[in-house]
Symmetry: C2
Subunit: 174 residues, 2 copies
Amino acid sequence: MPQDHGLLILHTGDGKGKTTAALGLALRAVGHGLRVLMIQFVKSDQATGEAAAALRLAPEFELRPMGCGFVFDEWTPEDIAAAREAWAAACAALTSGQWQMVILDELTYCLREDVLPPGEVLAALADRPAGVHVVITGRGAPEALVAAADLVTEMRPVKHPWDAGIPGQRGIEF
Amino acid sequence: MPQDHGLLILHTGDGKGKTTAALGLALRAVGHGLRVLMIQFVKSDQATGEAAAALRLAPEFELRPMGCGFVFDEWTPEDIAAAREAWAAACAALTSGQWQMVILDELTYCLREDVLPPGEVLAALADRPAGVHVVITGRGAPEALVAAADLVTEMRPVKHPWDAGIPGQRGIEF
């Protein structure tokens, strides 16, 4: 297997660190001269720490928040349309030749037959050009995605400051 | 609890992503204007992707590899001296007022009575100035460190590409 085998990496589980570890991979990859695109399927906020820092790593790193925020009840037509638009952007990025790493943040959340059919997503990932690393984050990854991935880490929560009444800290949580 | 409560964050477990998630936290924190120092207790390599990328985030982010590489058998006097020098640098950084986040990469590895006595390390962490976030990475964190931490994530290996004979990829592993 050559050094330029594009890996499919999955960060799942209920703990912290899934998106954060993907950002760390982006930082490391940019340091090696790779070009990295992170598409955020859920987050819509443009004012995060990672967005500000991404500008300092441009043009090798681009971060695109394309979500509408977390959906807790019914998916509205707008939520579904945003997920599909983000997925279309992901497919274009995978085949563009422009990016050597594509991060699909919170993609797992959208893997539902009525939003992004898992079979269609898995097929597009399998058919991507050689040498393109893909990093997928999110809870509850389906078994077929785990099976397709080269590297899977479960982030398991052991202790969370919210349990102790400490609020989310700027620079840490967002 | 104010917004500027400095958290003690621990990434442990046998899976990938402990150092990588710490790098992601650094990226996010720098985006918020915090100053971040990462001291590497084990790694000695100056030519990693993260080292190259860190230069682009300077002076807000500094990465200092201060290790001698992993010790598999006996700790030599040189290994012990390097760990103690890195710890002295960490203590200086915690109290300097210069850094709002101090990352102690692979510190857990050195927490042995004959290298860095855990009691001494825990006391220094507890006594650090308010508002300084500390991120500690490494396998096998002692129970007392888990107890002292505000946020603990275990990175659990589900699947690793080495299992399938795929070698470490530049831009991913280092």
